[in-house]
Amino acid sequence: MMLRALSADWMKIRGKGIWFLTALGPIGLVAMQGLNFGLRYDYLMNQYADDPWGGLLHNIANFVPIALFLGITLISSLMANVEHQLSSWKQLLALPISRTAVFSAKFVQAFLLLTVSCILLSAGTAVLGLLLGMSPQEIPYVDLARVGFAPMLAAIPLLAIQLWMSMTLKNQGLPVGIGITASVVSVFTYQFPNWMPLKWPVLAYVGPGEVKVVGAGLCLGLVISLMGLIHFNRRDVN
């Protein structure tokens, strides 16, 4: 049932700018570093002479949390808005499909869209590195994959909250406001204690305890999703 809802959901987001946003995030990040390295090529290549790939990844990773938080906020809101816009929830939920399936499908869709962003980010970073003349023999495949996926998995609690709020509130002001606040705050997260979920996307890539942090992100994300699911199942649809 969930897959059926998901297949309908892919149709619904056509032409809504969601795919555009999914691509814009990672491409924007890579382009920004392209500019950074392009303008200060000699200086930066000199500074990262020992490990140019590591230098590039470090610069990319600095901006991943804010891009991720913004992306999560906007994707959740845009996806939910497809249904809110003309009160389609009432039609959708009067179909013979469980609310659990509807909710899970939205979650999976958001997750898959973010996955696409992450793949684009990893691939884009590799392409940028090669364009900057970094050694093809030394491509750090594992770190490239980590820069894309580790922060994303650690940010799942935020995805769960944003999706929950966006889907249950018709007015998107609150979820978008909270999401943007989280994105802005994420710039300063290195000053936060490690237990703060907002810091997890940073920790998941630079450590310490990368694997543990990703695990914690998944667990907390699951708990919040379940709470959202229970609420979504019980609420009155007007």
Binding site: R4, S7, M11, S87, K90, A94, L95, P96, N238
Partner: protein, 304 residues
């Protein structure tokens, strides 16, 4: 009474202690077109949302097709098509794509999309984005969506709201053919009796959350009669006959004015008059309009 498609018992919905629906007992039999009437804010939409499981009743039970909505919701929804208030659609998609999003969830063959578009005569417009449709077309698309899964029960909430007269007529004709052509039971809500009168077999009238009237439209029409006027050759003698038959009546400007009576009694009176060599020129029924009756039912208790 096993062939009740919709049956609610003691249904309540409270919003912050204010009852939107109060002790509602609906009974809708298979093959009926049931007109669900009431002024705006009387609780029609709340009731319909409860029937579809969109909102939870505070108290009471809902059975559709003899099954408990709480326990067998999926099975019930599979056999039900609905259009709740204004139509829901995805404006950037075409009619075909809109129906496809539903078909992907309910299953069924793709050919069904063309069929339902044909039923609501949208085939020609099917490839345009829905945001460019007129309200009437959107409403028809909503009905097409409701029909997509071959429902046995169609629940339509104010399907003619905001439509122009020709749009209203189109929708009405569409609804009227449902039981005949497809064996579908229809629940249609409206705040206009005149509209429901033209398509429904049975009406339920709701006021301030309570069902104040539930019967056939024929009985409602009968209640509209407030008496008869007879024009005869010899009114005084004729009135005696009428009074002998137990009618109440008076003479007024050479016409007999009689109270409400059954068809059989009217026939008996006319027969008697004719047998006694009276010439009966005219038998008129004095009728209040259904709208008056509706206002009376709806307004009862509201008068100061």
């Amino acid at each position: 009474m096993t062939d009740m498609v919709i049956q609610t018992k003691g249904l309540y919905k409270l919003y912050k202690k204010r009852a939107a629906v109060e002790d509602l007992n609906l009974e809708i039999a298979r093959g009926d077109i049931y007109g669900f009437l009431g002024p705006n804010g009387a609780g029609k939409t709340t009731t319909i949302r409860m029937l579809l499981g969109l909102i939870q009743p505070t108290r009471g039970s809902i059975h559709l097709f003899g099954k408990d909505l709480k326990k067998e919701k999926m099975d019930i929804l599979r056999r039900t098509g609905s259009l709740v208030e204004y139509p829901s659609y995805y404006g950037h998609l075409t009619a075909i794509e809109n129906l496809e999003t539903i078909r992907r969830i309910t299953g069924g063959p793709k050919a069904r999309i063309a069929e339902v578009l044909d039923i609501v005569s949208l085939t020609k417009e099917a490839k345009r984005p829905v945001k460019g449709y007129s309200l009437g077309m959107k409403q028809r698309l909503g009905i097409a969506a409701a029909l997509l899964n071959h429902p046995e029960l169609l629940i339509l909430d104010e399907p003619t709201n905001g439509l122009d007269p020709s749009g209203i007529q189109e929708i009405r004709e569409l609804i009227k053919q449902m039981p005949r052509q497809f064996g579908i039971t229809v629940l249609v809500s409206s705040h206009l009796l005149s509209e429901v009168e033209l398509m429904a077999d049975k009406v339920g009238i709701i006021r301030e959350g309570r069902l104040v009237y539930q019967d056939t439209i024929t009985n409602l029409t009968a209640a509209a009669s407030s008496g008869f006027r007879l024009s005869v050759s010899e009114p005084e003698a004729a009135l005696m006959h009428a009074l002998e038959l137990g009618c109440s009546g008076v003479l007024n400007r050479g016409m007999m004015e009689l109270g409400a009576m059954s068809d059989a009694k009217v026939a008996l009176l006319v027969k008697r008059l004719v047998e006694h060599q009276h010439a009966v020129y005219r038998v008129e029924e004095k009728r209040r309009s259904l709208e008056d009756i509706f206002m009376q039912i709806v307004g009862e208790g509201n008068r100061i």
